[in-house]
C-alpha cells in the first residue's frame, strides 16, 4: 500500500502531496496530524471521486483513499 506521510507539513503541502500521489493509479494511505489537513485532504480526495476512510491513530489520522 502506497503511503504519504504529511505529518508536520503545513497547508497546502498535505493536499499537494496527496494530489501528486493520486496521479498514479491505485489506492493509498495518507497520514496527517491536524484537523485542517484532515478536512482538506478528505475534500480533495472525495472531489476526485475516491472514497476516504478515516482512522484515528496516535497523534493524528490515517486516511485510506480508495479508488473504485
Amino acid at each position: 500500500m502506497r503511503t504519504v506521510d504529511a505529518r508536520g507539513f503545513s497547508c497546502p503541502q498535505p493536499v499537494i502531496m496527496t494530489k501528486k500521489a493520486m496521479k498514479e493509479d491505485g489506492d493509498l494511505d495518507v497520514f496527517v496530524d491536524n484537523r485542517v489537513a484532515l478536512e482538506n485532504v478528505t475534500r480533495f480526495a472525495e472531489s476526485s471521486g475516491a472514497t476516504v476512510k478515516r482512522e484515528t491513530i496516535e497523534g493524528g489520522w490515517k486516511l485510506g483513499i480508495r479508488r473504485s
Binding site: G8, F9, S10, C11, V15, R43, E46
Partner: protein
C-alpha cells in the same frame, strides 16, 4: 454530492459575521473602511509599543489581542491546540516581514482589501488582482515542490506563550494605558470602544479558528485543486459587508477620495502581489498566521513577530504608503515613497529567491 456541506456553510456564516462586524466597528469609531485590518492593527500595536514613532498610528488594538485569545481558547477546547515548531522559522519571519511591507504599501491586509472593496473602494480591486497574481506565482513553486520543511511537536509552554503574552499585554493596555503610546490624531486615534473591540476580536478569533478561513488559501485552492470552499468565506465577507455598508451609508463607489487609500495603482498591485506571494508560501494570509500561532504553531508565531517588526521597520524607514490627499483643491496621489518602492521591489525579489531556493534545493539525506 450536496454543494452546501457543513464546512461550506460554516465559512459562509463566519464570513457573514466578519463582514458585519467589520462595518459595525467602523460605525463605532474605527478608521473608515478599516473595521478590521491585521496589517494596520499590528502596525498600530507596534506603534503603541513604541517600536516606531509615527504619531498618527500608535494604539494597542484590542481586536488583534482578542483574536489571539479567542482562537487560543477555542483551540484548547476543541483539541486543535497543537504546539509545534521547526519549519524554517527564520525564513517565515523574513517572508512575513516582506508581506507586512507589501500590505502597508497597499494600506491593508487581504481582509481590509475585501472590506474596502465592499465599501466601494475600487483601488482594492487593483490590489485584489495583484494578490491573485502573487498567489498564482506561488502556486507554480508549490506545485514544483516548494516546501519550508516539516515541523515537530514542541512543548505546551512554548505553544501557549504568545496567547499568554497577548493576554498580559491586553491587561496592561487596559489598566495602565499611560505605559504605551496612543495617537491623539490620525488613524491611530480612531477607535471603537475597548469593550466592543475586544469582544469583536474574541468573536473573530473563535469563528476564524473554527472555519479555517484564509484569504490566500481561497484563491490558492481554486488554482491548485479547483476547490471553492475557502473562497466562499471570502465572498461571504464581501456580500455581508457590502449590505452593511449600504445600510450604514458608508458605501462610496470609485477610485478617488477613498478613506485611508491611494490611487497609485502600480503600487497597489505590487504591494498586494507581495502579500499574495508571501502568504501562499507560508501557508496562510496574515489573519491565518495569527490563528495558527494561537493554536500553538511557533512557526506562525515567528510570522506574527515578522509582521510586527516589519511594520515597525516600515514606519521607521518611511516605507509605508501614504493616502491620497487634497492640497489647494488639487488631488495629490499618495503611495509609497522612494524608500518604499525600493524596499517593495527588493522584497519581491527576495521572496522569489526564497521560493526558488526552497523548491529546487537538494535535501540532505
Amino acid at each position: 454530492m450536496k454543494f452546501l456541506t457543513k464546512d461550506k456553510l460554516w465559512l459562509i456564516v463566519s464570513g457573514g459575521i466578519l463582514g458585519i462586524l467589520g462595518v459595525i466597528l467602523v460605525v463605532f469609531g474605527n478608521p473608515k473602511n478599516m473595521g478590521m485590518c491585521v496589517a494596520c492593527f499590528i502596525r498600530d500595536i507596534a506603534g503603541g509599543l513604541k517600536l516606531h514613532s509615527t504619531a498618527t498610528v500608535q494604539y494597542i488594538r484590542p481586536e488583534i489581542l482578542g483574536v489571539i485569545i479567542g482562537a487560543f481558547v477555542l483551540s484548547v477546547i476543541t483539541g486543535d491546540f497543537k504546539p509545534s515548531a521547526g519549519s524554517s522559522p527564520v525564513l517565515r519571519f523574513i517572508i512575513s516581514f516582506i508581506v507586512m511591507v507589501g500590505a502597508l504599501v497597499f494600506l491593508g491586509c487581504p481582509l481590509r482589501m475585501i472590506l474596502r472593496l465592499s465599501a466601494g473602494d475600487l483601488n482594492a480591486l487593483v490590489g485584489l488582482v495583484g494578490f491573485a497574481c502573487g498567489i498564482a506565482v506561488a502556486c507554480v513553486f508549490l506545485s514544483k515542490g516548494f516546501t519550508l520543511g516539516s515541523s515537530k511537536a514542541s512543548s505546551t509552554v512554548d505553544g501557549a506563550a504568545l496567547p499568554v503574552v497577548s493576554a498580559v499585554l491586553l491587561l496592561l493596555a487596559v489598566s495602565v494605558p499611560a505605559l504605551f503610546a496612543s495617537s491623539s490624531s490620525g488613524p491611530g486615534s480612531m477607535r471603537a470602544p475597548i469593550a466592543l473591540s475586544l469582544i469583536a476580536g474574541l468573536v473573530i478569533g473563535v469563528i476564524m479558528q473554527r472555519s479555517r478561513m484564509c484569504m490566500a488559501g481561497g484563491i490558492r485552492d481554486v488554482i491548485l485543486i479547483k476547490d471553492v470552499t475557502l473562497i466562499l468565506g471570502f465572498a461571504s465577507i464581501f456580500v455581508f459587508a457590502l449590505v452593511g455598508n449600504l445600510v450604514a451609508g458608508t458605501f462610496k463607489l470609485g477610485f478617488a477620495s477613498q478613506p485611508v487609500a491611494h490611487t497609485a495603482h502600480v503600487w497597489n498591485f505590487l504591494g498586494m502581489f507581495a502579500v499574495g506571494l508571501g502568504s501562499a508560501l507560508i501557508g496562510g494570509c496574515p489573519m491565518r498566521q495569527i490563528i495558527l500561532a494561537s493554536e500553538g504553531s511557533a512557526d506562525s508565531a515567528m510570522s506574527v513577530l515578522g509582521m510586527l517588526i516589519g511594520a515597525a521597520f516600515a514606519h521607521n524607514f518611511s516605507l509605508a504608503g501614504s493616502a491620497d490627499s487634497v492640497v489647494d483643491g488639487v488631488v495629490k496621489v499618495g503611495g509609497p515613497s522612494a524608500n518604499g518602492k525600493i524596499a517593495l521591489i527588493a522584497g519581491i525579489l527576495i521572496l522569489l529567491v526564497i521560493a526558488a531556493t526552497c523548491t529546487f534545493r537538494k535535501e540532505k539525506k
